[in-house]
Symmetry: D2
Subunit: 363 residues, 4 copies
């Protein structure tokens, strides 16, 4: 089954494992004529690269992307874009100790029971390493949406462990290794992560993302709503356990008179909805949040079973992120970019001719 | 674009609007030989029917389902199952006042800008009425999963407005109009809703759902994870704004040593994950939560614009639920049933031959 | 698996059997704003209706279509269009004799082995009766393509048994029960069919179809070529055994200097290709041909086996067409309409912005 | 739109162009546990390789495949299989002369009008070179079907230009560069092709393929019939203009008493149908035929237009096959293998539990 493909009109199919020779993606359906270079994609890959701060895995991967097809004389041709990234710093020997036992909180046991055996090196296909291909594909969407549709997607870290982080200065999120948009909290974050490493433990996190410039009308009424496709994409990121749109889980405690965003000729009076109504974009800023569980690979010993079902103990070594959420911002952005790109094209397929008599109240 | 279809191997396509003559679904891919009658489906439809308590819309729809194809001599044939439900109590005159203006919090403005015009009668395709077809299709999945796979799906109301509700006695959720599994809270719920009606306002809610008997191995690694497909399905329900798996948004505040569910030969030591690891079912109870926004159709006047963009005021009349979450339990169940059914078949396609050497630690 | 759906951007899903209460289709992805009435669809249904000449099955079905959703105030809303046609003249008693044995040349044995049992009444889902839903859906595409894209699709009968029929006067094909565009051959056809009935036998046929006004650029390079999708759609019609584009099977015997259609500023010098180059429409007339096998339900006795595998004899009674090809023209047209509609929307999704510097050489 | 993907349960997505740095495929949905090496795939690639006889293009491509993912310790893991083949002998300078004009019979004009510009080097994505990725993917299917399902797929050349070739000794088709199964005709073929080269012209061809060991039950009733998917796959091969199943175009001239294959307890009495009934495999040998047009790249000068629409003349140089059909056998086989593999998995998804009371009459 095509579990490795996302999208209907803009389709991304990926391959690759943590310790295989290479990872990659095929981007299908990109409109022709878009100027696209390896540097355009590289910029996004740099954002998610490991080894760039002491708070992330020390695995050193240059993550150099090659465009193998679909671009001619600097422009997309409209045919399949092949993207290729070599793995260069895989150390499979690190994983011999976990070959025969399942790491709690990891996909190991589920893979074993699904497939009968598993590639235990770094988690194989279940590794967060595989998101490099997603980010590369998302960069193609970013280029198109920015240049052709005026849509800009930016994420930030909104929580780490018990610490909520505001979106005080969104632009500043790109200037620190945490994607923190709340500059005053940076020292607190440093302290928190230092302590976490000392404890040999890990922490969960929450990432938020905003898309500006989204026109009203993206998404489809029944199942393929824009918010449903966002939920699908986000929950598909490694370690994600919750997806919220707009006010998210808070809506359960709200009243209708408080939640509904009134419409004024100059725009909506508020944005509790997070930019979708009935699953279709409203033209407001699109806001989503993703909660990531804490890394399960920690130095605190834990109980598990081995491949024969006998009890065992495990202490994870290898190189790991103490908080996967810290590096999730570019991945969350990539997923939103892919979904938006898909819906921009889908909307155009069905509704290119539509001319609404109602003026846009947002712009 | 096929926005009205959900599923890959077990595919449900629906049609219908709040005020059209009928709604229905085509269920494609159901295994042959399943005993299936209209009564089997009717049982689930009764659970979501309006007009059965004073806390839901007073629209009186018998919701009688007809099976038009795909069943022969009481058993599914393996071909497309056509399901048909007539609308009998649509009162379109109720909606004349909102014909030319957009209801805040509703899909009206988004539909208008997407399609250039809209069926304003009861929200058309954006009405919660359309979930009747989803519930009918889910009933087919429920029958199969219960009889052939031993999977049982049950939901309950876990929050209404500010009130959190426990899962004290799951079986009791079917015995009251709120699907409340916390019997002691019933008087509080009655009071809360009575006050809400007096205020002419509405409240949000949160619904939880549990699938028992799910085997390990359902779901696919990359995009089509079981949890991603659940998120897609749930966020596609009207008024849903957040989807959580297991501990959900709480995971952001947890530590790895707390969250990771240790494995013992007798089963997992805890279930923070909610039954998925790496997006694949672990064999534990599958737990999801959906947060619903408060109904936007309230009697509190609100500001809006009309179809020409001029300012206007709106007071919603018509028959509405003061808390859509109260009736969402059967819909949430149906969505989970459809997703599980799809993944049971998908898993079988790829992995029917797999024989894992590792014993099941859950059962 | 979604075997009952065709199309990606314009999606048609059907249900129904020969002897069930009703048949229908859900048409998903139709652009909004198209004027559409039941009469528009009825016109195409009349073309394929049985019982209108003595050369077709005498089953009397009015084939009245009802639009159950997706149309509001006479225009498509952009949401799912539900189409419904009742079966009124099914005579299931006719089939009791074949309940326990397989009709040679029919799907009976294949269904039995696939599903373990079968709806034997009139072939169930394998009956040509089910094409009524396809034709209804095709009529929606015809309306759109004619009005919005200037595309006109017309088919004709190009062979019956040993008799090749020319396309002398395409317009005349609509004026006789054979869809024959070679008026001089009508008496020969009448004679041939009369003799066939006397013999209790049946004959094969070939249907040709032409789409005029197709713009260049429809179709996609790799797998989803326009001609590949046409082949898929046509081979999916009951009794189809061959699909040809342009010169079809004749190309195997041609030379490159003969086959390649030279380009002139005023258009192509010939049309051996049938309107596609590299799987993409060239702007020329699109030409396809479908060969239909003779009806297997004949009065000549034949050998078969029963459901337990024992030898048996069979003589088909019931009401059947002596030449299914005679009624296949509207079905072939519908399939081409659905494929073209899908590719018009798909092309728009990806290439709406394209502005080729090369002038169109065809119009 | 996902035009570069084929299959639903066994999905193949490809990328690459004639003159790009590499081509490749992602094979998604392969069952886990299959022993698979690069040598397994290489064997099929050798069959389609150019430069191995004087009757094919003299381009020298080693076509060495690398498996980049999805295989661990020699067995498929069940995750996406990444396949990669470098281009090493592309000579783009050969194509400078056709940069500004359209080659008749090629995709040039259609691509130009669809995408606004085109990769003119060797036809870009429209080149037959891209089938190397398809053949690589097909080899994975061949391994599975042979080892797990007992299905064997073999093709042969059944016509070249005016010369019909029999299937006298199917095994011998692998022993000559023409895939000719009619050994006595080899000298005639040599002579014909020698003369063709002297004339600077090309010839069409017809390829036939047989799958043995196909169980009854593959395929779905409505649109996704096995024969429809075969037609889709085959017509998607470069230069294909007709697809036939069983007796193919001959059925139009047959009578029902002649065509219908009677059933005997020991098997079918004949195989006019080519192994499908109602679109579902019958258990007989599956037979298909594909007609290929003659190569359009010939040395005979032809009329065309340039990118500005002005008249021009063209003489194709570069390295080309005088008869593409000669090398099409491995591609036709690959396509059939991919389709069969997909339907084996699809059938298992829906019908794994089916136990028909009727004995198999074919084996």
């Amino acid at each position: 089954m095509s579990g490795n493909t996302i999208g209907r009109s803009f389709c991304v199919t990926t391959f690759g494992e943590s310790h295989g020779p290479a990872l990659g993606a095929i981007v299908d359906g990109c409109p022709p004529g878009l100027e696209l270079s390896e540097e355009d994609i590289q910029a996004d890959l740099e954002l998610r690269r490991t080894g760039t701060s002491r708070h992330t895995s020390q695995r050193q991967e240059p993550d150099r992307v090659r465009i193998l097809s679909g671009v001619f004389e600097g422009r997309t041709t409209g045919t399949a874009i092949g993207l290729h990234i070599d793995n260069v710093d895989a150390r499979s020997r690190d994983y011999d100790t976990i070959k025969d036992r399942f790491r709690p909180g990891h996909a190991d046991y589920a893979y074993q029971q699904k497939y009968g055996f598993r590639d235990y090196r770094g988690g194989g296909r279940s590794s967060a390493r595989i998101t490099v291909a997603t980010v590369a594909a998302g960069a193609v969407a970013r280029k198109y949406l920015r240049e052709k549709s005026g849509i800009e997607v930016t994420g930030w870290l909104s929580q780490v462990g018990p610490h909520r982080l505001g979106c005080v200065d969104l632009a500043s999120a790109r200037g620190n290794p945490f994607f923190c948009a709340d500059p005053d909290k940076l020292p607190l974050l440093e302290d928190f992560l230092r302590q976490l490493r000392r404890d040999g433990d890990s922490a969960g996190a929450r990432v938020s993302v905003c898309a500006r410039g989204v026109p009203p009308g993206l998404g489809e009424p029944m199942f393929d709503r824009l918010d449903a496709d966002i939920a699908f994409a986000m929950m598909g990121i490694n370690a994600a356990k919750a997806v919220e749109i707009g006010d998210g889980v808070e809506v359960a405690g709200q009243r209708g008179s408080e939640h509904r965003d009134e419409l004024l000729p100059t725009g909506f009076a508020s944005n509790h909805s997070g930019g979708t109504l009935g699953g279709i974009s409203s033209g407001q800023d699109l806001i989503a949040h993703v909660s990531f569980k804490p890394t399960s690979s920690i130095q605190v010993p834990g109980r598990t079973v081995d491949v024969e079902g006998a009890p065992a103990e495990i202490v994870t070594t290898g190189r790991h992120d103490p908080c996967v959420g810290l590096r999730a911002v570019p991945i969350v952005e990539a997923m939103l970019l892919i979904v938006l790109m898909d819906h921009v094209l889908r909307h155009r397929a069905q509704c290119a001719d539509v001319d609404s008599p109602t003026p846009l109240i947002t712009r």
